[in-house]
Point group: C2
Chain length 283, copies 2
DNA sequence: GTTCCGCATGAATCGATAG
DNA sequence: ACTATCGATTCATGCGGAA
């Protein structure tokens, strides 16, 4: 009954990914280190070098993704010299040359964005969630993310996922999707490509860069229980944890030992089967 | 006293713009015909040809814009063959080669977006508002667009009004206004780069591409009364009307006679000075 | 137990200062 | 001139302690 499984890799995803088999992942959801951010990991990539650094990774991701799978990339360009950098635009164009299809761009509206005031600019309150696919036909389970009709625009995604989670816990095992669809009535509407979420800040033990509701939403939308979810920039493991809670198999790769250990401890104690790999074991 | 002024041109903006003097416009706000839309105007530009078609126009806009001026471009790529087209990305990159600075990208969240359902895609609820400038320093009047703070302001307002009341009672006479402005500024926050506006679903005679509040917001933000606002793709004249209502001078160009006439009749009867130019007069 | 208030905390950005 | 570092700015959120 407990079919889910977690594999955590400590190492550079540029190397670890090469060991993965072709066409083996249903969903890749990741938030890579933004340019000039996280200087202690991956050396704090300069905006001018970002595309060259990232393209070999997306090439591996293209290989390991199933033909019906989806790659969701959370990213936002920073301001350099008073201008928005263009590396995200260039990345999209280059990934298409690799063979990716740029299917859609979701907007994550961060209600609580970073404060500050500047004479020529307002606060940045949104990030891109770029959807890439290998084929025009891909798996998408739209009914799983329907929202109450009334004030669906105001309804917080977080509330929805909380509701779903408790509902899941009350029902044991099989048929996650079916149960959800049973609960759905004609009062449910499909969402749009704009997501409203607040970042989890404050005294949280580990402040994740995105709320868990974000990977949850895309995992529900693009996978079924038993499918494989991959996060090549695991961080503290939000994506992997979300996948575990929803009974998907998951694979996480993290280059920094402290984050790797943090993810391990966060995930330990769950009912899932865990496997750990150090960089040496992979090679 | 009535210093505002409207000039409407009937003709192709590729030609009309060449007659305009350098550095004469404070704000350009426009929503160009989307690729493959409005097939009877401008020849129904194919997505593949969109950038080549638009670049000569942006080059003219760069010339007529004042050094401290701003160009706001409302645009969204359409889906072609299951993929988002890349012409907007390419346009940004090419405009930078022309000398434009890509200062910012605002998101217009359309609360009531176009209905519909597709098997592999949700409804598109947002559009880009690309801000371009000629220089890092440009005119921006941030105080004009401040918004009430979050629900946090409720309790805050109550407390402040309490203290203010006692203060007012203790002080005789003047000082009231000062207090007012104090808690006004405290309860007003600067907005972010995400705009929440519903589309106007009113008259289907001329379905405006955007609600009048959209150009209004940018006109308030980037111009002062008496400044010059230009819309090279006037349509039914939403931008020009907004500028007139806010006592800015405005210039509109429209290639389609029926839209040109519609804008004329919409704007006529106002208190402003109107000047009309047909294509022949321009040449 | 509720509700209310105080407080720390961010994938930020600019401008000035220092090498 | 050109690049690295630092302080100042600012607001939604969630937690913890207090009434």
């Amino acid at each position: 009954m407990m079919d889910d499984q977690i594999k955590l890799y400590l190492g550079d995803c540029r190397e670890v990914l090469t060991e993965f088999p072709d066409n083996s992942v249903d969903l890749i959801f990741t938030s890579p280190p933004y340019a000039d951010q996280r200087a202690n990991t991956y050396g704090g990539i300069h905006p001018n070098e970002y595309v060259d650094w990232f393209l070999p990774i997306t090439n591996q991701l293209l290989r390991v993704l199933k033909p019906t799978g989806t790659f969701v990339l959370n990213i936002k360009e920073k301001v350099v010299g008073g201008e928005r950098s263009t590396y995200v635009l260039e990345l999209i164009l280059e990934m298409r040359k690799q063979g990716w299809l740029w299917t859609e761009e979701f907007i994550w509206h961060k209600k609580n964005c970073y404060p500050g005031k500047w004479p020529n600019r307002f606060r940045d309150a949104w990030e891109r969630l770029l959807q890439f696919n290998k084929n025009k036909k891909f798996a998408m389970y739209q009914d799983t993310v329907r929202v109450p009709m009334g004030d669906w625009a105001k309804t917080r995604l977080k509330n929805l996922s909380d509701t779903d989670r408790t509902r899941d816990n009350s029902r044991v095992g099989s048929g996650f999707g079916k149960n959800i669809s049973n609960w759905l009535t004609r009062d449910m509407a499909y969402p749009t490509n704009v997501l409203h979420l607040a970042t989890e800040c404050g005294n949280r033990k580990h402040s994740a860069v995105f709320p868990k509701a974000l990977p949850e939403w895309f995992i529900k939308l693009f996978t079924q229980p038993g499918d494989v979810v991959l996060d090549p920039f695991m961080g503290s493991g939000s994506t992997v944890a979300a996948a575990r809670n929803m009974e998907r198999k998951s694979v996480g790769i993290e280059i920094l030992p402290e984050y790797y250990e943090l993810a391990r401890s966060n995930l330990d104690g769950g009912a899932a089967t865990l496997e750990f790999f150090s960089a040496q074991e992979v090679k």
